[in-house]
């Protein structure tokens, strides 16, 4: 932040501040990581060792089979497949329909556009919890309860305000001249959207794709409300019902939790750049 003189010219205050910063960085890193370490350590303990005070940090004996037991205690393979199906359809829906709508908002000029974009932004701030009960009634009238339809179909209608907003912001950074050139060459508006804008927006599309996937992977309240038969459960519902049924089996609960968290962390590390960009774009460039 401050203009930096050479190291040997630093005042005592600056040096103290520097070391205080380093100390706090490390301290909070430990605070942030400790729960993860505790999770993994506990998930590898025997049922006996887990209820031991003071706790041991290195499990002895260590029990990697906890993970296998947890994953077979309930049909997690099936839950995994259900989750992939829902999440995959969500990603397809969001990537195409939100960019489609965003194109209209970013590049077309027509009366009523700003009004509708205002409505998009209003729904962005409208919490899902408000619609929980009313939407359930609509979907139960449609006979969609205990199917994946309530979790998938609405996404095909614009894919959510957040994604429309993000795509619109991204489209606006693409020079209009490119599109005009295509139009002069006889390209229709659909062509401009499909052949010019989409290929140029890959980073933003990947970002919303990742966010959508993770949301579907993590979401409990939607699947819990609509899915009734255990064969339809997603990972989140499976894990939640696992918890209510295996009260004191902390070893298995924690192993299952770690197993469910792992893919998310893997996705994060593989796509850190898009991830951070997505978070930042929600907050800035308003």
């Amino acid at each position: 932040m401050a203009s930096k003189p050479k190291r040997n010219q630093r005042s005592l205050g600056d040096r103290l501040f520097h070391w205080l910063t380093v100390f706090l960085l490390v301290f909070f890193a430990v605070v942030m990581v400790a729960p993860f370490v505790w999770l993994v350590s506990s998930s590898l303990k025997t049922q006996l060792n887990i209820f031991q005070y003071p706790p041991e940090f290195l499990p002895d004996p260590w029990m990697p089979q906890n993970y296998i037991n947890a994953m077979t205690y309930k049909p997690f393979g099936l839950y995994f497949r259900n989750t992939l199906l829902v999440a995959g359809l969500n990603v397809i829906a969001v990537v195409f329909t939100s960019s489609f709508c965003a194109y209209g908002f970013a590049r077309m000029r027509f009366p009523g556009r700003d009004l509708w974009f205002g409505i998009v932004m209003a729904t962005l701030f409208l919490p899902y919890a408000i619609l929980l009960v009313p939407s359930f009634i609509v979907f139960s009238r449609l006979g969609w309860v205990d199917t994946f339809l309530p979790l998938v179909v609405p996404q095909f209608f614009g894919g959510g305000a957040f994604n429309i907003f993000l795509m619109r912001q991204f489209f606006r950074t693409i020079p209009e001249e490119i599109c005009d050139a295509a139009r002069i060459d006889g390209c229709s508006e659909f062509g401009v959207y499909w052949r010019i804008m989409l290929p140029l927006s890959k980073p933003a599309l990947i970002t919303i794709g990742i966010f959508t996937f993770l949301f579907a992977w993590n979401d409990l309240i939607g699947p819990m409300t609509y899915l009734r038969s255990p064969d339809n459960f997603t990972i989140a519902v499976g894990l939640a019902s696992f918890r209510s049924q295996t009260d004191i089996h902390w070893d298995l609960q924690l192993a299952a939790s770690a197993a469910v968290t792992l893919p998310v962390i893997a996705i994060f590390f593989l796509s850190q750049r898009y991830f951070i960009q997505g978070v930042v774009m929600t907050g800035l460039k308003g």
């Binding site: 005070y53 309240i221 939640a240 924690l254 978070v279």
Partner: protein, 310 residues
């Protein structure tokens, strides 16, 4: 008329339109998915919910008109009062605290050390743990006898705290686990901090401003739109706390974590009172509307925008 004739006819009609009309039409074609979605998944449910507020319905037998019954019930419902109390309390503590902590962490990682990227990653990780796994993890961390948190406290000579059994401590526990996951707002703050032009700090330093003054007179005013954004998002999220309350304490002990959304969920899907649940949904909507109004009116007006047109 065959399909080909039909599309031919449509094309002719389209070509007859003036350029301006054509543009308008195309614009609406593009935003049609959103408009339809808004009607189907927002307006229709809202109208249905409004209709249901006057009905009594358990999802099985047909709805029965009961007039203002559900609204009267709302006025004399001790559980609703309790859920409002704990939700407001939770928001009032966790939002400002989370905001300050996120800002503080963002300032820490806004340094140029070697390996700072590792710290950024570590600080961000907690916010991406799936909600259900997160709830299980924290239920175990807060375990009175064998949890890590009580272990650390006791090792430092403190008492054994009944985090999830004591109605007062349980609120502290929920604030702690919420504040642990502030990585999202932290990253937003970090991006904001990095966007402040260096020249402002240099100018302030030439004028003899110390660290504290630079924070107060440069950083905070420049960051005010972002602070405001995180504040609004923080309030909306805190009012919706649900998964951890459901899985860690299931509303207990003594309803001290019966947050509003959990109460709505139970009313609708536990005791099957759809009419009353619709009233409560509208109540939540009204509360958030009023809250946003005051936040925008009194705090939003103090926000400093460098380029108000952008």
């Amino acid at each position: 008329m065959s399909l080909v004739d039909g599309s031919l006819w449509l094309t002719q009609q389209y070509n007859r339109l003036s350029l301006k009309r054509r543009r308008t039409l195309m614009g609406y074609v593009f935003i049609t998915p959103f408009i339809l979605g808004f009607v189907f998944w927002f307006l229709v449910p809202a109208v249905v919910a409004a209709y249901l507020t006057l009905q009594r319905w358990n999802l099985i037998s047909p709805p029965r008109f009961v007039g203002m019954y559900n609204f009267n019930r709302m006025l004399n419902d001790p559980l609703l009062l309790q859920s409002l109390k704990v939700t407001v309390l939770f928001s009032a503590i966790s939002v400002p605290l989370g905001l300050v902590f996120a800002f503080f962490l963002a300032s820490l990682i806004n340094n140029k050390f070697r390996g700072i990227a590792v710290f950024r990653t570590i600080y961000f990780l907690p916010s991406i743990v799936p909600a259900v796994a997160n709830a299980i993890l924290w239920a175990w961390l807060f375990n009175t006898e064998f949890g890590l948190i009580n272990f650390v406290i006791r090792a430092l000579g403190g008492p054994k705290i009944g985090w999830l059994q004591d109605p007062n401590w349980v609120m502290v526990a929920f604030v702690i686990l919420t504040v642990w996951g502030v990585g999202g707002s932290m990253i937003i703050f970090l991006a904001g901090l990095q966007g402040i032009p260096k020249i402002y700090y240099e100018a302030a330093e030439i004028d003899g401003a110390g660290r504290w003054q630079r924070l107060l007179n440069v950083t905070l005013p420049m960051m005010s739109p972002i602070i405001f954004f995180n504040l609004v998002i923080g309030f909306i999220n805190s009012f919706q706390i649900f998964v951890s309350a459901l899985l860690i304490t299931n509303g207990g002990p003594q309803n001290s974590t019966l947050f509003l959304v959990l109460y709505i969920y139970r009313t609708a899907f536990g005791s099957q009172k759809m009419g009353y649940a619709a009233v409560l949904s509208w109540l939540l909507f009204a509360i958030l509307m009023i809250l946003s109004f005051f936040v925008f009116r009194y705090i939003g007006s103090r926000v400093y925008y460098e380029n108000p047109d952008e």
